[in-house]
Symmetry: D2
Subunit: 364 residues, 4 copies
């Protein structure tokens, strides 16, 4: 109801404020027998960590994760897995200047109106620091998927007007982790880094696009009506801070296409049913068809600027919000592991959900 | 789990196949005291009905709705409201030719793989006929919103390459129901109708875009983390048949914008806090800020063509799917009331959810 | 939230008032492949039907059930199954005399206070007529269990002070359906019938106890903490009208027992692990251990008497509630199929839930 | 699905094993504005703590609780509240002797069969140590109830054959916390303590009964069908370790009562509607009627004995389970705060759920 949990079977519940003692997550419904290593979880958190490069926020957090339950002798036991990361580098004083002010395009005003009070330090619960919990839980989901040979890969495909061409010869998914912007085209990565630095120099921020592909999926994930696989992926992505849009397969381009062009024709490849094109993005009728799942997620420019902005305070008076604190000039490099995590969580959940579709599978 | 229900407090559960006896819905959690009129529900169903004009499918369904429970003396009693529409014009024989074949970009293959059997007549549960239940339930939600002075308005904003200009002097929301394509620009409506007819003549289909605006909302709807208001709107829209993308506020355009351009500056208008621009689309940090909510929904071209298409049958052999049956050349004119319905359902659910945010409101 | 649904995976949503047009249920999450016969459902409804004997209410309802969706060629398709029973013998006029009065130990007062209005005819939603939907859904669950060789059997084990002795030589579960009180001891059945008739002659009513046993269950159903198998069975039973208590295994007798007496010692019987005694009632740590599950459910005497009773009306004035209408002098004979149904629903739900406990089962 | 969460609006998710690093809970849906004090939470944990007297287990745990989120300046902010208690006195070696053995009437066998592996140390997740999380969360619920003037009081009403007489002149709820057995009759408390000591001397254990009363409730809590207030209370209680039965109001005694005796007659007391008797236990039709809620919970004798017992090991061979470790001879003295906690959680949840019953309340 209060919306801090996600998933039906593989279900996570998160907690934590940006400048409170800790952020963390309980994963309930992870099956027994998943191999879980602290270093795999830590690896994903490190991909998300502040201070990882010179184009992201310089807040210094180790983001060291602890496993509090649910894992015994390196495997999940079927009971809830609790993961916690204690906050270290909370410069709460940095936020006294906005205690009573509403930062433009932040959640200050809406939280204040909704709850009557709020933890104003660093955005409190509305801070993207909450995604630490998602990434930690997602790492467990990725461990499970890896035992099932399913792969989730995300990357930065656009920053500002700089668009990656997926058909360029320089496009290579192995490049993603080799540059600080997480772009699969090494040359474009350089351009993006330059753009982000330039924007930061202006005290400004810039938007970006993340693309994701999921391969190795069986046919049959997703539920027919409201819990279509892409509807749950869409909700997962739209729940990430700063996201403004989601599209899968042909996406918004479908609007100007004709059916004869858009339909994906089935054919056999060995024993496997595949489609000649993949405008469906690997999902038909809400259910995976075995082709790769492809989707895009649009991230807005970060709302915190290193500039003064006009605004209001909570008494309704005019106020100036000045540019202070440590923030990202562009959110997408650090959002790649968050997209990975949310995608992995949705897939694990639907994998488990799809296990009870048929009585003949229960009888076996 | 099987995904045929939607909403947490104002919760609907739907049932029904395209060519089964009936489609319907139970609404659980509608508060006592909502004025409910059969004719209001019927009105919305008529907006969605097949055969309503010469640019939609000619299946003839009255779509006459019955209220089976939950309403007494014209008002809701707080108990579940059951609505049912019996199917009349089921030409099931029309579907014998596809009994064992997988229609391209339909759900035939995925349902078959998932369940091992399926009701192949007219797509069964994967048919857009399922949306009858959504529209009926949405009509109840709209009745509740109307008592709270909240308005949901959707329209066709693009068909193929024909794009409505919201800033044109001819743009008028009062036009929407005056033309059969449901476009708020009378002249563009004519062009769209011509395009749809031309496409149909080719035995082909075309995609489209629906825009929606919601006004009169209080500040504070939506939950902070996973159940952000736009995340739930996004899921609602993505769960509608043929939808490939969702964006709100600035949407995908945000990717190439700078923060200084994208931030919405607060100001006072009388006693009310408003923003100078509305790139946030009425939602900040996942919570409504009192400005109009705006979003777009992309619909793919209908997959059923009046042409032969290559495919496979369920035995893995090559097969030809021939173009038969009664179908829409473009789905958006009839999808407008579906978008209205799903939006109204999300808003009612979050209105109720937001009533338990604060202890001081419980004490009063 | 409004509580008209039950179950997590095998989930039902019910609707309907005693004197409205219909009562019914949607079952979402029934796996594909369950053999479903209209006559099996009808059979269970007939066991619950009013007017079935001279010791129950004489309201005349055929209780003829229709399947509206989810079944194709005699098997479930995996999509929602909708079942509806139209009300026929609604003598709504019978209830005008209580329109503004609160019947003692009924839900009139609490509904009125909760909702501000209510359908007063025959108790509306609070009527035990709502259990028609449970029995119909339970019949589907029983069909699934029967394909898995799991048996649920309930019977009347006490009426007033007349207690069935399970160790008597005359105790025989095959007797249950052979007498109108549904008692497994033919002689005791006669005594119970006499008692019920005597009570009815006084214009009074009497309480009763139903016992249930479930056999053929695999080890491992139930979840460790809140959704223990007996906790869900308990909730299911306590949600039935007129139930005041639930106990399983040793039940309330455990209070005066010692551990050395109460512990069930494990032993092998062939390849199977069993226990020498079964004070655990087939459930240990909330999880089935393969032994029969046993529980008891206490039903209060029906609140409607054929006598005048003092009370209040909704204006706060003194009022007399007179004894009118058609009611059961003792609820347990007709409640047996309701207990069966609710037990079967819980077991189906937990069977499905237990299918995602282990990764090795997902890999196979 | 995996059942580690409880509640719909005021929802808790728990984690932790007896001998893992920590046990804890996330509370999601606690309204903003509840006054929260660490010492109130600690107080309830201290009531549940091992080693508190000479009739309970001598495991030494401080049970010091930390608040990790959701509280700012001493009040709840509306965001998730995370509470954690680190385990200190884990003598895991004590459990090596049962690593491969199934203790009688414990969850060893069922967990092993369900999950394929288990954390055998101290029962792992099946240990009553899990209730630390419930008591911590319940303390928050009790803080909220206290701001609403609602009181939950539980006590030991029976140990073995020693039954408290509620009508005795020595019965006094103020006595509960004055003796180590938590019995409201000082003299009976002495007898109970003697009995427990005697049982312990035998290396044995004994069952007990806890009674609870809830006062100050408004009319209207509870939902009509499956989520009746007593059904949710029943599930809450049955989910506590060692509970075998639940009854409310007249409970199992209703079976032998007549309606004319059992019906609670309404009357006015000032402006308030009350009933002359309270066999309904404060709940009619599943909804609170403003009278005190009364219920009883039966606890079995603890399964761990200080005696050798025959059993099986996980290889199917005969094994002897010897009596070692630190355990309670009778569970009820420490279970009183657990019953308090679970009752408070149910009431908070239903209080919030009842706030969206009526449109007129939304309009105000």
């Amino acid at each position: 109801m209060a919306g801090s949990n996600f998933g039906e079977v593989f279900r996570i519940s998160t907690f934590g404020e940006s400048h409170g003692p800790a952020v963390g997550v309980i994963i309930d419904g992870c099956p027994a027998g998943v191999k879980i290593s602290l270093s795999d979880i830590q690896h994903q958190l490190t991909r998300r960590k502040p201070g990882q490069s010179n184009i992201v926020t310089q807040r210094k957090e180790e983001d060291k994760v602890e496993i509090q339950s649910g894992v015994f002798d390196g495997v999940s036991t079927g009971t809830p897995i609790s993961l916690v990361v204690y906050n270290k580098d909370q410069k709460s004083k940095d936020y006294n200047h906005i205690k009573d002010k509403f930062r433009p395009s932040h959640a200050d005003y809406t939280y204040d109106a909704k709850y009557g009070n709020r933890d104003y330090r660093g955005g409190g619960r509305s801070s993207a620091r909450e995604t630490v919990a998602r990434v930690a839980a997602g790492a467990i989901a990725q461990s499970m998927l890896s035992q099932l040979n399913i792969k989730v890969i995300s990357w930065v495909s656009q920053v500002g007007d700089l668009v990656v061409d997926q058909n360029a010869p320089t496009f290579d998914l192995n490049e993603i982790e080799k540059n600080i912007v997480r772009c699969p085209d090494a040359e474009m990565a350089e351009n993006m880094i330059d753009l982000i630095k330039e924007v930061r120099k202006d005290g400004d921020t810039i938007g970006g696009l993340i693309s994701c592909t999921i391969t190795g999926l069986p046919v049959g994930l997703g539920q027919p009506v409201f819990d279509k696989l892409h509807a749950d992926l869409g909700k997962a992505m739209l729940s990430i801070n700063a996201v403004k849009g989601f599209e899968y397969g042909s996406g918004f381009n479908c609007v100007s296409m004709r059916g004869s062009q858009h339909n994906d024709i089935f054919k056999k490849e060995g024993d496997k049913v595949i489609t000649k094109t993949n405008y469906s993005g690997g999902i038909q009728g809400g259910i995976s068809n075995g082709m790769p799942i492809n989707f895009n997620v649009a991230f807005k420019p970060v709302a915190t600027l290193m500039k003064d902005q006009e605004s209001l305070d909570k008494f309704g008076d005019d106020a100036t919000v000045s540019g202070k604190g440590r923030h990202d000039p562009c959110v997408v490099p650090r959002a790649v592991p968050i997209v990975d995590a949310m995608a992995a969580l949705v897939i694990c959940d639907h994998l488990l959900r799809s296990k009870v579709d048929r009585l003949d599978q229960l009888l076996s």
